[in-house]
Amino acid sequence: MIILRVSALSKHFGGISAVNNVSFEVGKGEILGLIGPNGSGKTTLFNLISGLYRPDSGRIIFMGEDITKKQPHEICRKGIARTFQLVRAFPNMTVLENVVVGSIFGGGIKDLDVALNESRRICEFVGLAGKEDTPVRNLTAVDKKLTELARALAMKPKLLLIDELMAGLNPVETEQAMALLKRIREQGITIFWIEHMIKAVVGISDRIMVMNHGMKIAEGRPDEVVNDVRVIEVYLGGRW
Amino acid sequence: MIIEAFINGLLFGGVCALVALGLNLLFGVVRIVNLAHGEIIMLGMYGVFWIYSWSKNMFLAGLVTVSSLIPFMVLIQKAVFNKLLKAPGINQLIATGGMILALSYGAEIVWGVDYRSIPLTFPIAQIHGVFISISRLIAFAIAMSCALLLYLFLYKTYPGMAIRAMVQDSEEAELLGIKPEKMYVLAVGITGLLAGIAAICLTLIYSIHPHVGGEFTLFAFLIVVLGGLGSLSGSVVGAFIISEVFTISSILVGLEWAYVITLIFFILILILKPYGLMGRGE
């Protein structure tokens, strides 16, 4: 079952094509990795899907519904949650409060106590147990990422867009993050994931998509993509 | 009647442009929203008034006023604006709002609430049946010459270019070796100069009162937003547009409703085109 279908999506800024005629599908329950050099348009693609930018052309269909022109908060409520490349959180609120925001406004829980309980559970799930009452601005970068992720999970998403999780993690943290992603997938959440650490992406993704200069240049199973000539060219700059 | 209003509007527009340019420069270079711009001009107007009353010499009055306003603005820059640069935007509004109160009520205490005007009257000329006030014409001439000089400065001299660079992209400008602090002082000095000359022009047309500043500030903001924050040519164009809207409205529906109309026009512009006609985005 296809959960997200993107057709011929394009976005220009001035004279530059950030995203150029990109089409792909995401299957329900899969982990789709998105890789590509810096500036290839990956984050812009996320911004288009999450509603931050409006595409110049093309369509985005989520669970059968056209969300191309919808506003971010509407898209959230339909079931897409995302994290940001430069980690974002509400600095003046505690970890728990951050997650509660996601729970109430994304997850649709009206009762504050229920939201609080749910949020505590999610904090535990991602590994932030015991830090719930810390103001976010006092957290380490890693914990901030986990908070952002927890907030996204509290929104009860069907599709989770993760923009770079592994940056700055040491090997132990990387393993933990990979395990966390698997646990999220076991909850039935589809994951679409931008990542620079190829090893991690190849390790758990079901499929991988590669972008360069705003275009999709390859798509398929990890072992296929990694051995694809064009992908090697993109990363290593030419045949050798 | 309308033609007269139109011409008066043009003449007034010239002076408005000067007021708006000062405000715009301050924002473009120093990135400060100065709510008290009109109050500075009001001070200038009092300066012109008192020195003229004492010396009966308009040139002297103008000279002294302008040469006092420039250091005054630099002082404000160092004492107040510098501290506001890193602070959240609300602090700028509060501090300059506080300046509005401090300056206008300070003026009230020192000089009283009576209206004053320069006892300098100019004839009213009649051209093809239309009455034109010579004082407005003179004010317009001064303002436009000043605007022209400003243009020449900005486009034909090195410091001027540096200022334009700062307005366009302050980070880039700094990388090119332009020192922000020096630019701030320069920009603020020019703002003081413009405010002083605007004060001279306005004394020719209006009576002076401690609270006239508010109107000028309001008009200045209308114009700057309409023309686009950071776009100096936009301010000039905007000045004429706003001036016409106001002058013609006041002939048609009276002064107060003219303010209401102009203000509603302003709100609409802010909503529909926050970057103005020629402005760049934030």
Partner: protein, 321 residues
């Protein structure tokens, strides 16, 4: 430790107010009662202002709502004999409508920060000029006197302290409303919005709706403050809708500390007592001095003390921890 001291001070203020409540009828100084009434009216208006102000929606035009409330109830009473208790609500509805008409396009099209403040400034000036221009009905710049007709239904009382009671109660109401907001889910949206708008949007928060809701709340109650003022003073003029008045409402909250519940009250107490003191002492020679002082204080405060008076006290106390 410091937290307890802090809470104690807060409670002391509330108890002091309750005591004031009880001894008011006995106080022989009518002037003091008048000043207290003003203090609490302004404290209320500033508190309702801070509902918006503390989340980054800095309105420099709340006078528009204040004036609209005052003029609506007063005109309805003078012309049609409608009880100001009802006129009060109608004024509130008018104020909220204007807030929505102007606010919706602003919030929908992302007019924020200084631009938003400029819109509110313009609104306030427009409202003042409108009242001034409608001189046939409102008396223009000369102002409007409320028809004298004492009676509970007419919201007019023979003794001044009744107005003081009402002003104090209304201020307490603002605190109560704030507590209710803090205890619910709405506060999360507000805090999120003021921290990071884009992130808030991506958490499912409808920014436009949230901003509209808090603006409607703030404007409605500020208008009612206007009515209370009109009834207590029996005279209003277009100035109360204008920019100076709006700036005062905003600045009183900031002076006292806009992120706290009692901040606006403290700011109001300081500012109004000072203005009245100056007025009594120096007569009409230095009328503007309180405004001048407020202006100077604000400049100094934004540079050195961003938390206002109360915020600074709070910071000093917490530093001792």
């Amino acid at each position: 430790m410091a937290v307890n001291l802090f809470k104690k001070i807060k409670w002391n203020i509330i108890i002091a107010i309750i005591i004031m409540f009880l001894i008011l009828p006995i106080l022989p100084w009518r002037y003091l009662i008048h000043v207290l009434t003003l203090i609490f009216i302004f404290a209320s208006a500033s508190t309702y202002w801070s509902f918006m102000g503390r989340f980054g929606l800095v309105s420099l035009g709340h006078g528009a709502f204040f004036g609209l409330g005052a003029y609506t109830s007063s005109l309805l009473f003078n012309i049609y004999g409608l009880s100001p208790w009802i006129g009060m609500f109608i004024g509130g509805v008018f104020a909220t409508s204007i807030a929505v008409i102007v606010g919706y396009p602003c919030f929908r099209y992302g007019v924020r920060g200084a631009y938003f403040s400029l819109v509110t400034l313009a609104l306030s000036a427009a409202m003042m000029y409108t009242f001034s221009a409608m001189r046939g009905i409102t008396g223009g710049l000369l102002g409007l006197t409320i028809r004298y007709e004492p009676g509970l239904l007419q919201f007019q009382f023979p003794e001044k302290y009744y107005y003081c009671y009402i002003a104090i109660s209304f201020w307490l109401l603002s605190i109560y409303i704030w507590r209710r907001i803090e205890g619910g889910t709405f506060i999360y949206a507000l805090k999120a919005m003021s921290d990071d708008e884009i992130f808030a949007e991506h958490s499912g928060i409808d920014l436009c709706k949230v901003k509209l809701q808090i603006t409607m709340l703030s404007s409605f109650f500020t208008a009612i403050c206007g009515t209370i003022y009109a009834q207590a003073i029996s005279y209003i003029n277009p100035e109360i809708a204008g920019i100076t008045w709006s700036l005062e409402i905003a600045f009183i909250a900031i002076l006292g500390g806009l992120y706290s519940m009692v901040g606006p009250l403290i700011g109001s107490a300081v500012y109004i007592s000072f203005s009245e003191f100056v007025r009594v002492l120096l007569g009409s020679t230095l009328v503007g001095i309180s405004h001048l002082m407020l202006g100077l204080l604000l400049i100094v405060f934004t540079i050195f003390l961003p938390g206002g008076i109360w915020g600074s006290i709070r910071t000093i106390l917490f530093r001792r921890m």
